[in-house]
Structures are given as structure tokens and as C-alpha cells.
Symmetry: C2
């Protein structure tokens, strides 16, 4: 089955590309989406969404004002949850995310945190009595909640949150206050205008003592008229680079009182008399972050995939410049430089998707074990891996999308391409859920411990380096040898970093030493995570049964590996591990695999099984009929609603008359 | 004079930083802006703009809809040109650009191309009679013009433009047509709604023969009511990643007739009987592109500078995390990783500004020579340099701004930071005025010719490489030695590329060989241009008279050089030119100079002499009072105009009541 995406009326160049694929698109799609059943479900869900106009935008979101977007997203958020039965809600990594993307596009909405964080906290932080009260209300959408942690002046360092919750044993209430402007809660999704409840993290004070940050459930707005309650100052934080259909909000408290029962008391407790009972374990609720980051990795991987679909299809139908005079303009996908911009992004998308599957499985495995037998031994590894992957995947996804966008030239700059929305949405992932550099440093600290106790270290850290690389030729090099080369680089960097760190520790405190080794630490984590990506990709490709599919995925893997290695040539030559000839050969390998992938490029991106609805891109249309649809798209521009804008009468007419009168 | 930016009421952290500077901010500002007179003029122009409310926005642009932006920009464009006497219009590189930035911010407007391209073409492509007719009309703003060249399906390859202008000798008119949808003019600034005239590039047909693309002056809209004239289909091309206050447009012709006199005939002519007279020289009008690119390099350099001001000042007042427990949270500028994100961007901004000055001087020199003595011998070098610099500077500026934005964490994602506007505006420069990869390849082709005729080659290409690097230690290494190391890398890459290219030529045509060597070609140009940047920076810093200023700029240069070299460690180790120890020492040099720059960072960015108006950033405020002003800024959000949005009554109220009723 090569041709099931080919239809009459398609752009002939894209049809030609589809005919040239050497493998079965369906089989590749099954590999990418982990089975035919999932591919089928994607198509069913798509059909369901398209059959329900309340789930679809009538005009493309990019032609709306911010107010219109927020309004539209409110309507769709309600409709989406009304129709939630069309998906298997327990499969959040698969059907849930896909459904949300189809309906909401590349944007957030006011009810996102109600499900992703508010509900999560209710479930994990409530006592039994609290659960009885809040869980049904939350699930039945009787209230809309969000999660308010970060403050205007405080992000990563939770300890320093400033919002206070002071217990008053006389009235048995907590008094919430924002003692400074920097204490304003800032960023929570839906907080600005949508939500009437929030879980608020605040410094707990009982009997005059600070007990650290604790969660409280807080009503923000009147249930009847949605007005902010007295003592609550609340609003939207204003426009952002992306996600402007969401009302991220700010929140200040002025002596705002809540009942004692509104502290979530599963772990810590405050008794009526103000006595504080500390939690048995610290670091609970860790799992939620791991979950969110695991979801993010998958989401980011699909965004990068979407960008590659758009750029590859457009490059197949765009003709520009001549290589052989008599043959007319060439498809721009035939330029080596264009291939080098896009194809490594395709291979990266594969690497990220396969890592996302792996971390999802680890997460589900952990959840099962922790729930059945309270075994949380997997959490440490999972936490480290999710932090590291989150940082690498979000940064490289953003960069990759931009490369795809730039590869589409002027049209990539237009919202018609869908790429600006993808980029501005995806790049937020570098910052939220743990700022990337903070993530890299966290993992690095773990790596430093592993080196210290080398015997417990990750396998490859224990192995001795070989003196020189086995690499001979890009055509004959085995996957294992390439991975060994990569292990060698990662190990060297981690050890060099450890040495520097250890030397610094002789003079400075631990935190100071971490800071003074920060750049090397980040590098160490990056290489460690990249090694993971390359290994996991390889492991998963070698078990592909279909020969044709495996061959193509192998080409992508080789491109991925050689592209990364060629950027690390300095590290490869450390200690003369590789010589100039080997390095040069790696570069030749890149050219070779770009060429190998070329005839299959459109087929590969077709296999991501992304519909025109999901792509939301005139350039990435399945049918390749880009130009006529760009014109149709442009006609919808806000400015085209009137043939003549008011600016003529108001400003230009007088100016020009005046100018002409002087002639 | 260290403290002239310090005022009562400033954030104490930023005052502390200003006090720690080791050099005179004014002297540094004079160096950056090439003399005290220019700094003074900046301040005078700023004062003028701020005294004229018609030149200033009442509400920040980010809170406006697209229609409001376009309207506002129309008003400001007229006002800006009304007030043009407040600047020295002949100093476009200096006062002109600055004035425009102050008034328009990071956006284009409908009259931009009237001045930058329409006027230029009138001046350079008209006969004497045509000049008499069109020049006063243009200068007096009796009409508003734009320049329509690119088409929906055609960008770089001018030869393939599809719009036709067919001469009708009976009526002595040209008939303009857009034979296909891909022939639609697409992108020209102001074309959508503002302009009533355009210079249109179209394939000229006379006596049945195609004479290639030629320029025609075409009326688009009725002078009285601004309606499109019959045969003209015109409109806005829709929203973009940035510049949404501008109405970039599309244009289609249907048998639209213009008089013969409307072909711009300075170079080619069509006589009344249809006889075609070819131009004497080809490639005229080349100078305009060089001018635009030279301006762009300066503009981009200032945008990167602005991003560094914002990120540096914010990093000085933001406190987060603890290094020493008792000392409270640290300024994030104290993190090595934060310094590594921002300081190399500062050094890059210096490199780009100094290159921009150099290319401006070359351009002015060329203009003088070409006008006085028709000597255009400088144009070749100037063209190559402007192409190469444009590609490197625009890409690294965009990347640098994003690094600065990411370094500001969550607040960097908010439009309040000003960084989203800076990025989305600046990154457009990678695509317009010559797509970057196309630029890199053009320069590479020139480099290949230089190698072939090595004796005419740029100086450094002629020199023999030394076998090994002289580099011993980052503290003692001379500028000349560092430059030599860089020359060695650039030369190697250019020669390796040439070898590959030459081998490919044995089997393939020239264009095919260029394509098959594309990636190596781009690398060769990048290194060639980076070498230029590093050399030019060094040359200009060594003549700084003030010792303290020179010392600081030298630190920036060293950081710039070592940062680049450390990313090229593979190339440095080619042929064992450098060893592991030298490479390691270069990295140590980076840490050393980050540390050196740290106490001067705020002082350095202060020296860019950018006012709060120019920066348009809550995070980058001179006074460092970020948080209270973030809150004030947010209160202006569109969504905060009503305490309760209509979404409550329309969607959420019913949903929640329904939910609660089920309890």
C-alpha cells in the first residue's frame, strides 16, 4: 500500500513523491503509532470531531482577536469535555492528547489545569472526607479549578514562595495574604477569568511558626455571578508569545479567610487548636511532575513531527531555481541544503517519539508498582530521565520547528503555514514544567553522584573506554559501534565534569561548586540524554519486523547518529579517539543518508498520519495544492473585510491631497 | 561618570550593579555610537518624539488587535513623515533608523516601502522626463507606492516571474496580466491596503518576444475613493509571525492597461512601435540591495543589543535560588549558566555593530566613488560581504534574542518582556532580502573562484597554514594569534570545500556540483564571515583610546573569540593543529572572561544608550522596578476590561450548574 494518500486532483509533484516511496506507509504508521489499532482510533476520533461542528472552528484561529480566541476556547473546552466519551479517557498519552490537539489546536484553554493539575491534586492530596466533598464536584465540572503555585517573583525555588496562610484558631480559619507584589500568584492557566477555584500553595503559619509551603483549596469567584470574592484581586496576565487563547492569571489575597478544612490534609495536618502534624514522607506528589513531563515529551515530539510534515510536503511542491537548464525549476527538496535543514528534524522526531513511548511505559509501570505494592523505587530514575529528556526534547523541538519554518522561506513566516503557531506554542515547553537549565543541572547532580559511586552507575559509565574508535566507514559501521563512540564521548564529558567539580569542591561549598561547573554540568547531561535517545531509537528500530520499513528507519537513525556525531567532532578527537579521516567519513555518511532518504521523505512524513485538521497548515496540505489555498486563506484576513480601510479617510487622503496640491 | 543612570527609587540591585562598573558608561556609549555627537543626537531625537503625542502609542501595541495596529501605524507613519525635519534625513544609517524605531517600534508600516524601495526605484530607474513626473509626487507624498516583485510561486529566481506586461503598439499601452495563481504578487509591504501605486516587476513582451523582467509604475487604487481600479485584485495576505501592523499584500492583474510611459526606461526602452532597446549594462540596481542589507545588519545588531539589555538588567534584579544558605536568594546573573546564555550575546552584539559600521562606511565610500567617477569596482566585494554578513548576523541575532528570552524564564514568554516582539520581528530577517542559505551559497561561489585564482584571493587564503597553533594560554594569547587560529580553520574549510567541489565538477555540471557541495559551501561561508567579524572587532577595539573602556571591550572580544573557537574544537584539531590541552584551556578562557565581565555587565548594556521607549520592555526598565510594573502592565490586558467575561454566562455557568445539580 503505497498510494492510499493519493487522490485525483492532487498536486502532481506530491503524487510523484508518494509513488516513489519504497515502503508501505501503513506499516510505517503502525510502527510510529504502535499498532494498527491506534492508527484506526486516530481516524475514528478525527471523524467524530469533524462531525461535530461545536468541536471545530468556523474561522481559523489566526484571524481572531485575543478576546475571540478566549471565547472560542471556552466554548470548545466545554464541548470537548461534553463529548469526552468519544475517547478512552484512561489513555491520556494516546487518545486524550490527540483529541485535545484536534479540538484545541496549538493553544491552551481555561479548563486545562482543571484536569491536568487541580484534579490531580484533589486526588493525591485530599483526606477521605475532603475527597468526598471535592472529587465529585471536580469531575462533574461543578466548579472550575486551577493550580496556583508560581509567583511573580518566585518560580523554581518553592521554599521562597511568599503567599501566607496563617491559622486563626479562634475562628478555625486560615487567613491568606499576599504580603508583597512579588507574592502575586502569576501564570496559572485559567486563573485570570475562567476558574472559580484554585489549589493555592502558601507558606503555612501555625502558632507563630512557619511550616513551609502547603496546598489549600480556595474559592475565588462567586458561584452565581462569577465576581471575584472580597479579598481576591485577580485578572489575566496579558498577551504572550503563544497560547493567547488561554487566560493565564494573577491573584493577590487581602486577608482572605478560608475554613480550616480547606487545607489539603492527606500528608500534613493542622488541628483545630493550631497544632501542626508534619507529613511522614517528604517529596510526595513528585509523580505528578513526572507524569506531566512524560506527556510533554510526547506532545513535543508530535509538534516536531507536524513541522516536518509541513516543510517536507511544501518542499516537494515548491519549485525554485534551476540546476539543469532544460529541465525547468527544481523541487526545492532536491537541494542538499534543504534536505539538511529538514531530514535531520524528521530523524529527531522519530528519536523523540520513541523516547516518549519508553518513558510512558516506565511511568505506567511505576504507577502500577507504586499503587499495588507502594514500590516507588523506579521514581528516581524516572524523575532523572524525564527531567533530562524534557530539557533536550523541548529545546531541540523548538529549534527543529524553526528550521522547518525557515526552510519554507517567506511562506513559513505567514500564519498560513501553521509553523508560527507551532513554534510559539512548542518553545514555551523550554520554560514551563521546570526551566531547562534547571532541569539539566538537576540531572547533572545525579550524574555526579553516579560517578562518585561508580559501581552503582549506569552501565556505560562503568565500562572502560577503548583507546580508539572502531569506526571505519559509514556504510559498514554497526549500530553497536556507533553507540560505543557516543558512549565514549558522554563518558569523557561526565568524567571531565566530575573532575572539575571535585576540584572545585576542595575550595567551595557544594552549591557553589555546582554553579562554578554549571556549563560543564549542562554539557554532561546533554550528552547523557542524547546517548539515551540514540540507544533507545536503535533498540526500538532493530525489532521492526517489516524489512522495508526497518531499512528506512535505519537510514533515519544513521542520519540522526552521524549528524550528532559530526557536531561533536572535537569530542571524538579527544585523546585521538578518532582521526581526521574517520571524521570526514562521518560527514560523507550524512550526505549519503540524506540522499537515501530523499525519495522516501514524503512517504515518511505521510506515515505520521496527521490530518489536515491536525496540521492546520496551508503549506502542509495532503493534496499539495498550496498556492490556490494560500490565496483563499488570505482572503479571510481581518483587513480584507473592507475593500478600503478607515485609514484612508482618516490619515492618507488628506496627506496625499496636500502633497499633490504642492505640485 | 559611572552613575548618571542611577536615580532615587531605583531597584537597589541594579544600582549596586551600576556602582560596580569599572569604566565610564559615557565613554563606552561614545565608542558604541561612534562619537559623543551621535549620543547627544539620540537623546535629542528621543526628547522630540516624547514631546509629540502623535508619535507615541497611548496603549502598548501588544494590547491591540491587528486592525488597531494597522490603524495606529497608519497614523504614526503619516505623523512620522510630517515630523521628518527633526532628524537629518541624509543620515539614514544613524538618525533615520533610530527615529523610525522610536516611533514604530518592532513593526513595519504601510509607508515603509514608499521610502525604502519605491522612491529608490524612481530615483534609479526613471528617465529624466519620468523623474520630473514621479519624483516630486513621491517625495511630497502625493501618492503612496510600494515595490511588487516576489510572487506567490516565485521568490529568489527573478527570471521565472510570471506576471506579464505585453506591449500593444496600437494603443501604445502595456497590458498587465497574472496568467496563473502563482503569478500573484505576494508580500510587498503596504500593498494590501495602504498603497495606491506600485513599481511592478513583470515579464516584458514586445513584438511577441519575451524580454525578461522589467519595472513598471502602476496605479492600483482610485485617488479619490481608494477603491481598487478595475482589473486589479488586491488585498492583505493575512497575519504573520511578526510585523502585523503592516499590510503586506497580494495583487493580481486582469488585462490591466497602463500607458507606455509607465515602463521605467532609464536602462531598457520600448519605443512606440514596440521596438525593444536593451540596457547597456546588466546588474544595475545592485546597489539598492547592498544598501538594504547594510541597513539590516545595523538594525539586527541593535535588536540583539536590546535583547541583551533586557536580559542583563532583569538578571540583575531577579533573585532565585540559594548558593550560600545564610545569604538569601542570589541574583540570577550570578549563575555561570545564566552568564553563558547572555554575555556571549553581548559580545556578539558588539561584533555585529562594529561590522555594521564598517559595511556602512564601505557603502558610503562606494556611493561616492560611483557617483563621482562611475567607479563601481568596490561593488563586488561589498555585495559579497553584505550577503554573507546578512546571513550570519540575522540568524545569530534571532538565536541570540531567543537565548536572552529563555534566560528570562516565564516572564520572557510574556509580551511584557518585549522579547517576543523582538524575536518575531528580527527572525524575519533570515528570510527577506535574500534567504539566508541562498546568500551563503552566493558567497561560497565567490570563495570558490578566489581559491581557483588563489593569487587574487583574500589575503588570508594565500598564506600558508602554520603546522600547529601558537596558542598557549587564554591569558597570554595575543589577538593576532587567536585570529591566526581562526584563519587556519576558515582556510581549511574553504580548501576542503573547494577540493570536494572540484572533484564533483569532474562528474557534474557547475550548478549540480554547487548543489552536491551545498552543506560544505555554507560552512565555508560561515567561517569566512565569522573570521571577518572577529578580525574587524579586534581592529576596531585596538584603537579605543580610553584604557578602561578598551579593557572591557577586550574581555568581550576574548569571550567572543573563545566561545566561537570552543564550538569549533573539531576543526581546531584537524591535522593536529591544536591538542586537547589547548582546547581545554580555551574553555577555561570562557569561564574566566564570563567572570571578568560579570561586574561590568549592567554597565556595558547601559552603554548601548537605549531608552525605556526604545526597549519597550517591562523587564528591561532602567530603574529595575520590574514587578510592580508587570502588574500594572497586566492590568491593561484586553481581557481585564471586564471583571467577568461573557464566557461565564454563555458557557461555564450552565455547565457548572448542571454539574452541581448532579451531586
Amino acid at each position: 500500500m503505497k498510494g492510499h494518500l493519493i487522490k485525483t486532483g492532487d498536486n502532481p509533484d506530491i503524487t510523484k513523491e508518494r509513488r516513489s516511496a519504497t515502503f508501505c506507509i501503513n506499516k510505517m504508521a503502525n510502527f510510529i503509532h504502535e499498532g494498527h489499532e491506534n492508527v484506526k482510533r486516530r481516524e475514528e476520533i478525527l471523524k467524530y470531531v469533524e462531525e461535530h461542528p461545536e468541536l471545530c472552528d468556523k474561522i481559523p484561529v489566526e484571524f481572531m482577536t485575543r478576546e475571540e480566541r478566549v471565547e472560542r476556547n471556552a466554548q470548545k473546552a466545554v464541548a470537548m469535555t461534553d463529548h469526552a466519551d468519544c475517547i478512552d479517557g484512561s489513555d491520556f498519552f494516546g487518545e486524550g492528547m490527540y483529541y485535545q490537539t484536534l479540538v484545541m489546536g496549538r493553544d491552551f484553554h481555561g479548563m486545562l489545569l482543571h484536569y491536568s493539575m487541580f484534579l490531580q491534586c484533589i486526588q493525591s492530596q485530599c483526606t477521605e472526607e475532603q475527597l468526598d466533598k471535592w472529587l465529585p464536584l471536580t469531575i462533574l465540572r461543578g466548579i472550575i479549578g486551577t493550580y496556583a503555585q508560581t509567583e511573580l517573583g518566585h518560580g523554581t525555588n518553592l521554599k521562597k514562595l511568599e503567599t501566607t496562610a496563617t491559622y486563626d484558631p479562634v475562628k478555625e480559619e486560615f487567613i491568606l495574604n499576599s504580603p508583597t507584589i512579588t507574592a502575586a500568584k502569576w501564570w496559572p492557566g485559567g486563573l485570570g477569568k475562567t476558574c472559580n477555584y484554585a489549589i493555592v500553595m502558601a507558606q503555612l503559619y501555625t502558632n507563630g511558626k512557619n511550616r513551609g509551603p502547603h496546598p489549600f483549596i480556595v474559592q475565588l469567584r462567586d458561584l452565581n455571578n462569577h465576581m471575584p470574592l472580597p479579598g481576591i484581586i485577580i485578572g489575566d496576565i496579558g498577551p504572550k508569545l503563544g497560547v493567547n487563547g488561554a487566560d493565564n492569571g494573577f491573584l493577590l489575597f487581602k486577608n482572605y479567610r478560608i475554613p480550616r478544612e480547606n487545607m489539603l490534609m492527606k500528608h500534613s495536618k493542622v488541628l483545630p487548636n493550631g497544632e501542626y502534624i508534619a507529613p511522614k514522607h517528604s517529596k510526595l506528589g513528585y509523580g505528578a511532575m513526572v507524569f506531566t513531563r512524560s506527556i510533554m515529551i510526547r506532545d513535543q515530539a508530535f509538534m516536531l513531527s507536524a513541522a516536518t510534515v509541513i516543510a517536507t510536503r511544501y518542499s516537494a511542491i515548491r519549485r525554485q531555481g534551476e540546476i539543469i537548464d532544460s529541465k525547468g525549476e527544481v523541487q526545492i527538496i532536491d537541494y542538499q541544503t534543504q534536505q539538511y535543514r529538514i531530514f535531520p528534524q524528521i530523524s529527531r522526531a522519530f528519536a523523540f517519539l520513541l523516547a516518549a513511548s519508553e518513558i510512558r511505559d516506565m511511568y505506567l509501570n511505576y504507577m502500577e508498582k507504586s499503587q499495588i505494592s507502594s514500590d516507588i523505587s523506579l521514581l528516581g530514575d524516572l524523575h532523572a530521565l524525564s527531567c533530562g529528556l524534557k530539557a533536550i526534547v523541548s529545546f531541540e523541538t523548538a529549534q527543529g520547528i524553526e528550521q522547518c519554518r525557515l526552510a519554507c522561506g517567506g511562506h513559513g513566516y505567514s500564519e498560513a503555514s501553521g509553523l508560527p503557531q507551532l513554534y510559539t506554542f512548542a518553545v514555551g515547553g523550554c520554560t514551563y514544567e521546570g526551566e531547562n537549565i534547571v532541569m539539566l543541572l538537576q540531572v547533572a547532580k545525579i550524574l555526579m553522584k553516579l560517578v562518585k559511586n561508580i559501581k552503582n552507575g549506569t552501565e556505560y559509565l562503568k565500562r572502560d573506554s577503548e583507546k580508539t574508535s572502531n569506526f571505519k566507514d559509514y556504510k559498514t559501521a554497526s549500530g553497536e559501534d556507533i553507540i560505543k563512540d557516543f558512549e565514549n564521548i558522554a563518558r569523557n564529558q561526565i568524567f571531565l565534569c566530575y573532575e572539575k567539580f571535585n576540584n572545585t569542591l576542595k575550595e567551595f561549598t557544594y552549591e557553589e561548586a555546582v554553579n562554578r561547573t554549571g556549563i560543564e554540568m549542562c554539557k554532561a547531561t546533554r550528552l547523557h540524554v542524547k546517548l539515551y535517545l540514540i540507544k533507545n531509537f536503535y533498540t526500538k528500530l532493530t525489532i521492526i519486523e517489516d524489512y522495508d520499513v526497518r531499512k528506512v528507519v535505519m537510514s533515519l537513525w544513521k542520519l540522526y547518529a552521524f549528524d550528532m556525531l559530526s557536531h561533536l567532532s572535537g569530542a571524538l578527537k579527544y585523546n585521538n579517539y578518532m582521526n581526521d579521516k574517520q571524521i570526514k567519513n562521518i560527514k560523507e555518511g550524512i550526505y549519503y543518508y540524506l540522499n537515501e532518504i530523499r525519495p522516501n521523505a514524503v512517504g515518511i512524513v505521510d506515515s505520521f498520519n496527521m490530518s489536515d485538521r491536525e496540521l492546520h497548515s496551508v503549506l502542509g496540505r495532503r493534496d499539495g495544492n498550496v498556492y490556490e489555498n494560500l490565496l483563499e486563506w488570505a482572503k479571510q484576513s481581518q483587513l480584507n473585510r473592507n475593500e478600503v480601510l478607515p485609514t484612508f479617510k482618516k490619515y492618507f487622503e488628506g496627506m496625499m491631497k496636500d502633497g499633490r496640491s504642492k505640485l
